[in-house]
Subunit: 567 residues, 2 copies
């Protein structure tokens, strides 16, 4: 098939969102409160895609703009004056903020529920103050101080949690401070021989990659939230990036970290590896602020790839696609980036694809009777002879499972637009849609069952006569033992009870995926949203072990009490 | 260089030992108590090697045989009658043993200290009884029972600990039972599509590989103790195998496990991966029996390699060798097996090499002025085109660092004799030598300093006028961020105070390697021997976190109290 002209492939899901929500500006941009909805959905969505959604969902596009920023309801700060004074004494007056704008900017994350609340003008989960420590020692001291005064502490990195990681809910309704890590955002050390870099937790991916790039290095961790999320946040949530099949999950990239807790400071990790007892570093990873605050990280970096090759393939069916990936995985032949879309996502992505090449691709697929197929985007990166050898070994396996190549343009287009989906999402929210994602992972054996179960649960919960949800799925992370499953849901929003509409659907989907053998979350973390199911994941005794650790490190329970551990 | 005729390369270190010690027979063989020393050291050691040792160490070969089995001192069992009866009621009378032979067979491990004690007839660390549960439920019930009756529980797998993992020391001197996992040694399930196998903890590597081999699969975990050690033991100690550079540490191969504790049963791990909170599976790995007993494991397996290629290379210097490996590691080009010997180990191994080819190899190296060089054994395994591509990319890097190939025979010989060293060790112990190993790991940046520091400390501690220890080192596990360092020490034994001689040297070496930036242990675990240094590895608060977990799972402190946590 000939090279295609311009083509734009992008997903639909969130991960982060920057329009129609109040966000912290950090070091990333203009810092404006971008709240104006785009009344002209047409500029965001091709006509065919819009028609497709109207038809599939029974959706009537309608303006449902967020409330204007000045009308967002924010209660006065409840931080006691003596605590405020003590914090100012510790950190400097200029690093303690209780003004409306600073508090709004650190309110909530980017889940659909967060966005709904914010769009409705509800900022009841806002912190009472925002503080910015500059060092590990200051962070440890502020945790001690807050512990003594019973003030809740919620760490703030990029504000991109999609599971309510910043909810700040406290059973005792104590005042809370947001600990913004923006001042601890430098590259502290680069040890090239050991492929290690030491960084502050508030550093963002783009800034790190820029520094590393000057020395020919890369971290390679590229989740959809990459533009905004911080390295400390990745560690606290056990993130996985779009190239995690190749470079590994963020867990795999952390060689060590410093965790400040109300009971003191933990220095964890002994690179390259250790057998000195249980893995305490693994306890800090995924602790989501509930055990303390990550104040420094040592990360494994690697040389920038000398060659990258992205391309598209089309499988006849989802089962064929899964079987093909499983075969590759088993022989350690998976590409560095793997993204297999199911028929619903493939169809929607093709409709949503722009550029002059999109029509050609659609026509080509139809001609091969692949209109109903499954698109696979793969990317190989590394040294040229190895990329070549790996690809040569993988291609026949894809062929044996009925895949046909659909060109490098498809792969490159996906790569070029990999961070775009969240922006589109905001446009859809403005027009009366429910848009949310969830994700899991399962063994190759359980994955088809998990897929069926989640889809059925979401359709049952969100479907009403004449209005069916669109449930689109893809595999985005492959392992020898299984793969992740990422699900994007679009539905006509229930304008009267939008929160309940999603909470009900989410509950049904989560129950279904756990019953089918999926994990509670593959890379979004537990947050507030998944707390009720943690016990099903690790058992009652597993929860008790976590409680014992928390009790030791955070006896007053001030560290992000609204996440991770069930009530 | 031409292919060599027969050549025998083997190391000197332990890892396990089966001669001159009492071992559990399990399912592996004759079950005899092999205690007769070989009076003819000549059959175990070539003359040149023997001369080398006499010259280097100032050693006088002399018969120092172990005491005969009937003379080993064993106190009567202290297990209270009511507890014995309750255990028999739970497990069946036939699975509760208090006889002399069964107790002796589960006494101690294979450290030099263990061997010295046993050879001297000291079995004061013997368990008061040996019990064999058949299921997770029985194990959990026996832990509850022992907790209620204040009876210490020490899990027993292969008995190959080299760090005092079976010491059974209890500060309160309570009676103890050895929980032999030999009845839980089956392959429970093989999920080929998901590359997962479920096994009992008492299963040994050879039996697992035989079962897997019938389906074209392998686990690939091959530590030197492979013939005897159990899969549960690997998990409890965070083992690493000789091919761990390629297949990963045992940690990486565990997808899930069941841990029975006095407080209940934990089912941990969600393959392929999860972000549902901190990694509790990582807490069970490396828990060394101090949190409970591993009763089932899910392991990641892979297809048997279609091709294997082992070969030898010679570097001019240790620094060249480290630099070459570091370059390979940085570009993800390390072979699956990597073993770089320092000049002392290279010289000793060449002297110890048997077969008609050994002379040729030695001559060839001398001709190239490499007699003082460093031998590198590497092994590539996998699919032919990938092995070819990886090797082709790696070879020029080796060349750039001055390495020259010394043939496949060297690599194949090492591979053929990879489990032989412990047998040789027993012969050396019989002849008046101190033979012990220790190991660590450090970043590539810190590794040369760690190497120098350990060697200096051992030489200082063990050297006396006219008697110098032989300190031989190799790197056996490479990572992008650093490598392991394995050190074998030979010295003339202090016949009056042999335990103190080694304890003093070990303390000096451990202090030195920690100060230089090494980890306390890369794959031998903490056991009893490393306990005093755990706080230096994870900090006082890290120890407190482990204590909090232990307190929750094992409130009476009956689970292997002599290991892991400092007093």
């Amino acid at each position: 098939m000939p090279e295609q002209p311009e083509l734009t492939i992008q997903g639909w899901g969130p991960g982060s969102s920057r329009v129609a929500t109040v966000r912290a500006d950090g070091d990333s941009g203009d810092g404006g409160l971008e709240l104006a909805p785009d009344p002209d959905l047409g500029t965001a969505l091709p006509k065919a895609a819009r028609r497709h959604l109207v038809r599939e969902l029974g959706w009537t596009p309608r303006p449902t703009p967020p409330i204007a920023v000045p009308e967002i309801r924010l209660a006065p700060s409840r931080l006691p004056g003596d605590v405020r004074a003590a914090l100012a004494g510790l950190l400097g007056e200029e690093h303690v903020h209780t003004d409306r704008e600073t508090r709004l900017r650190r309110t909530g994350g980017k889940s659909y529920l967060d966005l709904l609340r914010r769009r409705a003008g509800d900022a009841s989960d806002a912190p009472d103050a925002v503080v910015l420590p500059g060092t590990t020692e200051e962070t440890a001291a502020l945790l001690r101080l807050c512990s003594e005064h019973d003030v809740v502490v919620v760490p703030f990195g990029g504000g991109t949690s999609v599971v309510g990681g910043l909810s700040g809910t406290d059973p005792d309704d104590r005042p809370s401070v947001s600990v913004d890590l923006g001042r601890m955002a430098s590259v502290v050390d680069v040890d090239i021989a050991s492929s290690l870099v030491t960084v502050g937790p508030g550093l963002r991916g783009p800034a790190l990659e820029e520094t590393l790039g000057r020395q020919g290095l890369t971290l390679g961790h590229l989740p959809q939230s990459w533009e905004f999320a911080t390295l400390g946040g990745y560690a606290a949530t056990r993130s996985a990036g779009q190239a995690s099949t190749g470079v590994g999950r963020f867990d795999d990239l952390v060689a060590g970290l410093t965790l400040a807790t109300p009971s003191g400071v933990l220095e964890l990790g002994s690179p390259p590896a250790s057998a000195a007892g249980p893995d305490l570093l693994g306890l800090a990873l995924g602790s989501e602020g509930a055990l303390g605050v990550v104040t420094e990280l040592r990360l494994r970096v690697r040389p920038q790839p000398q060659v990258t090759r992205y391309e598209g393939w089309s499988f006849r069916t989802w089962a064929d696609g899964l079987a093909g990936l499983q075969r590759l995985a088993r022989h350690d032949l998976l590409p560095d980036v793997v993204r297999l879309s199911d028929p619903d996502e493939t169809r929607a992505n093709l409709l949503n694809a722009g550029g002059t090449g999109a029509r050609l691709l659609r026509g080509s697929l139809r001609a091969r009777r692949r209109a109903e197929g499954c698109l696979l985007v793969v990317g190989w990166e590394g040294l040229p002879p190895l990329v070549r050898a790996r690809r040569r070994a993988a291609v026949p396996v894809l062929g044996e499972h009925g895949a046909v190549p659909v060109g490098r343009r498809v792969g490159e287009s996906w790569r070029a637009h990999r961070y775009a989906a969240p922006y589109l999402r905001d446009r859809l929210l403005d027009a009366g849609l429910l848009v949310e994602t969830l994700e899991t992972a399962a063994t190759w054996t359980a994955l088809p069952t998990v897929y069926d179960a989640v889809r059925a649960a979401l359709r049952r919960s969100l479907g009403r006569p004449g209005r069916e949800p669109l449930v689109m799925s893809h595999v985005s992370h492959g392992y020898a033992t299984g793969a992740s499953l990422y699900v994007t849901v679009l539905a006509d929003r229930d304008d009267d009870l939008p929160l309940q509409q999603w909470l009900t659907a989410k509950r049904a989907a989560t129950d279904a995926l756990l019953a089918a053998g999926g994990t509670l979350t593959h890379h979004h973390a537990v947050g507030a949203d998944h707390r009720p199911w943690l016990e099903r994941e690790v058992g009652p005794l597993g929860v008790e072990v976590l409680r014992a650790v928390k009790q030791r490190l955070d006896p007053r329970g001030i560290c992000n009490p609204g996440v991770l551990l069930p009530d």
